[in-house]
Amino acid sequence: MAFDLALALPEILLLVGACALMLVDLRLPGEDRRASFYIAQAILLACAGGTLFVLAGTAGQTTYAFNKLFVADVMSHLLKLAAYGAVSAALVYSRQYLLDRGLLRGEFLSLLLFALLGMMVMMSANSFLTVYLGLELLSLCLYAMVALNRDSAASTEAAMKYFVLGALASGLLLYGMSMIYGATGTLTITEVARHIGPLARDGTQHPFLVFGLVFMVCGLAFKLGVVPFHMWIPDVYHGAPTAVTLVIGTAPKLAAFAMAMRLLVNGLLDLAHDWQQMLVILSVLSMALGNITAIAQTNLKRMLAYSTIAHMGFMLLGLLSGVVGGNWLNAADAYAAAMFYTLVYVLMSVGSFGVLLFLSRKGFECENLDDLKGLNKRNPWYAFVVLLLMFSLAGVPPTVGFYAKLAVLSAAVNAGQIWLAVVAVVFSLVGAYYYLRIVKLMYFDEPKDDAAAAPSFDTQSFGARLLLSANGIALLVLGLLPQGLMSLCFVAIKSL
């Protein structure tokens, strides 16, 4: 039992830390919440230490705890570390933005940390119940964060939509889980995997399983935000304060990916033939709708929202290429490609929203495409960082976004899904247009005369500017040397 607790060390640290922060914050002096901010960062650092400690303690072995409700494996460790990084960067980028708007309150920090706890529970879940528990903890925190700016009608509306649709998706997921539970008699994912093989081959049981599977895939699709379960994404991204959009658009994608891996791959791999077909439809529709609709957007946040939809569709290409004709020789390659894609996407997404936060300031929201006009004249360095971000999102080498696309496309081609790969590259061409448009605005257009609307980076702290620069450069460096991260993903997937 003692060892069980040790496996959940990062979660425990975070829970204790978040609770303590909530209380301490009331007593801390200073309007700018400097102390709370640093405490939150320290908690994240401690969690990272905890995760590394567990990783070292288990020597990378997959270890179960709490009657197999909880699993500690390399994939969960890696995703957790990435999530700490994303949350920490989110804090740094959004600090000034939140201060300017009076939103940097204790609630924000503790909600963020609890949301992270929810993600971590999802990443380490080995039971339908644990998955659900983590998902709800994450979602409830996010609903509240979207509505953080309670005087804003748009935010409140976005939170309401998110909540209603999110509750529906949770319901669907639970319903699907109950069906699978009914068929297999267990909630533990590894047990489900053991029992489901014979059932999947049984003609009378199979339809029943697929019925449950459909609901589970719907719930997953909602969390990933892929078409046709994407309706909430543009509105929530647009309505939420940009700092919260940054949070929603980054780390939770890692959790959603983990959930997909746990449910579909760990649990229902014997139904791969069925869920892969569903993912094909989701993937193609997402790439098509996401990329085409993004072109029509004039609002940057909405554009990035549709771009997320398209990217998640692309990521699904990896997930659906694992098992070919009942043979999973290349499965690890394909899932590793999807994981690499997700990690790279999060890195790009953090940077893109970070730029939006940097360009906003007191009384001015950087939301429209026009706000980026002539950035190269005002600040060539950050224009270059955005250039890297955009070319990476578009998947142009030598940025890392290209290798993410390469990995999933290679998985699709290896699985014999050449037509899917062709569809994917054609839609990525469509996508290139709107990313190019941003580069065009920054480099080819003259800055707006209106000085108040002029982008400026001066108000940001030195550390934040350094981090954003590092974020941009990382895209290039990882693009020149992608091997390390790719192998890490492969090792993580192999350990499943």
Partner: protein
């Protein structure tokens, strides 16, 4: 090591120029860029000096593991086909830097940096022997060119830049899928030379042929996917047009020799009729289109398409004259089109007009310029003793071996080429001084004279004594033709 230097010296010089800061340090940036470009040229000279003509094997090979996860290797090497392009590219880059010395006034560092980085990337394309490395360099060149056209271009530059990018990106993503397919079929290898030996059924070869065709045909550009080129050329600044015409167009043609012909020999032979037809349309129809242009840059752009039609024609008649002639034509076109665009640039900097109608009688005020441009115009028509003649003559000879009427149709280019080039030359240069702007023109300054003089020397040398160029490529071309002759299915 030499090839790595040829790639990375210009790139690092470019980054250094970018790091210098803004226009307050423009003079320093110019000097640095020139030193970098010259250094980039100097490191490629040993490639020529140390090259062995006796073998078709790759030389100056570097082979390191780059991304073991996908078995992607940093594998560089040159043979008689690719070596000349690296030299051509490194030779053109310093000229571009010199030509932009005073003309570019805003954001000098970014301009010079972009050209240097592009120069290194282009060397990478020509020396990559790993399919994915090739693709990375091939695609990466789009970024600096997009910026160059969009920032320093003419009035309609945004349209041209976006059109350029999307057109070429479309071609290359289909190539990406083809490369991944080959990777899969060859059991996880991106080595281009492994793919040469890979047996492929005819159906598959056809699919792959079209997958690669889009990428290369757009770059060449072949009719009917050529429409981006006139826009891009017209809007690009002089240096951009020069690099686009002299080097970037060659990427597509080079792709045909490196990938399509040896990897898909059966499809290449089976579909040669299509390629020949498209090439002849480019030669004849685009030649006629060039005749009616009123904009000088557009005229030269169409002339480029027409000349590149000659190149693709030479490749797909599958004999040594044709292929070597096409390669010579590519090098020669690199010099001549660069020179022609520099000439237009010289006039544009003084008059701010590219319209033929705005000129007339330039010879009266710019005699030195007029005589140099005369040489380039003649070379563009394929006059003997200029480099333009050698390639065209060899391709026509090759075509004659294949089919008389083919050679006949191809030879019309000599008529059309002379017609549009000389007619433009006559209207711009000869006659009475057309207006007071022409009367105020000043002749070439030292810098311009240096650039055009060097190109003139290259054009004449290659026209009078082409042997050094052809003997370099003999072995490699024969090897290539051997690959094409062996059925793979």
């Amino acid at each position: 090591m030499l090839l790595s230097l040829a790639i990375w010296v210009p790139i690092f010089a470019g980054l250094l120029v970018l790091a210098c800061g803004d226009d307050r340090k423009a003079e320093l940036q110019r000097t640095l860029a020139f030193v970098g470009a010259l250094g980039g040229f100097l490191v490629t000279i040993p490639l020529w000096a140390g090259f062995s003509n006796a073998t078709a094997a790759m030389q100056f090979v570097e082979n390191l593991s780059w991304i073991p996860r996908f078995n992607i290797r940093y594998h560089l090497g040159v043979d008689g086909i690719s070596m000349l392009f690296i030299l051509l590219n490194s030779f053109i880059t310093p000229l571009v830097v010199i030509a932009g010395w005073t003309v570019i006034e805003k954001r000098v560092g970014q301009y010079m940096g972009a050209f240097l980085i592009m120069s290194g990337l282009l060397n990478g394309v020509f020396s990559a022997l790993d399919g994915m490395l090739f693709y990375v360099f091939f695609e990466a060149t789009l970024i600096p060119m997009f910026i160059i056209i969009g920032v320093w271009g003419g009035a309609n530059r945004v349209y041209a830049a976006v059109k350029f990018f999307l057109y070429t990106f479309f071609g290359s993503v289909l190539m990406l899928v083809s490369l991944l397919y080959l990777y899969n079929k060859s059991g996880g290898s991106f080595e281009i030379m492994d793919w040469w030996k890979l047996p492929l059924p005819l159906d598959t070869q056809h699919w792959l042929f079209f997958g690669l065709l889009f990428a290369f045909a757009v770059k060449v550009p072949m009719w009917p996917v050529h429409t981006w080129l006139p826009d891009a050329h017209v809007e690009a600044p002089t240096g951009g047009s020069v690099v686009l015409a002299a080097i970037m167009l060659k990427l597509g043609a080079y792709g045909f020799v490196r990938f399509t012909l040896p990897i898909l020999p059966d499809a290449s032979r089976g579909l040669a009729w299509l390629m020949i037809a498209l090439s002849l349309i480019a030669v004849v129809y685009i030649g006629l289109v060039a005749l009616v242009q009123t904009d000088m840059k557009k005229l030269i752009a169409y002339s480029s398409i027409s000349h590149m039609g000659f190149v693709t024609l030479g490749f797909f008649i599958f004999n040594a004259y044709g292929v070597e002639g096409a390669l010579i034509q590519m090098i020669s076109h690199g010099f001549i089109s660069a020179a022609m665009f520099f000439c237009v640039g010289v006039m544009y900097d003084r008059m701010h007009s590219r319209n033929i109608a705005d000129y007339g009688g330039v010879v009266n005020t710019m005699p030195k310029f007029a005589s140099l441009m005369m040489l380039f115009a003649m070379a563009n028509c394929g006059l003997p003793a200029t480099s333009g003649f050698v390639g065209e003559f060899m391709v026509i000879m090759g075509a004659m071996k294949a089919n008389f009427w083919l050679a006949f149709a191809a030879a019309t280019t000599l008529v059309f080429g002379a017609a549009y080039t000389l007619w433009m030359y006559k209207r711009v240069i000869f006659g009475a001084v057309a207006n007071e702007h022409v009367a105020e023109l000043t002749d070439l300054n030292k810098r311009e004279f240096l650039v055009l003089g060097l190109l003139a020397a290259a054009v004449l040398f290659m026209g009078i004594y082409p042997l050094p160029f052809t003997e370099v490529m003999h072995a490699s071309v024969n090897d290539l033709l051997r690959h094409v002759a062996i059925p793979k299915h």
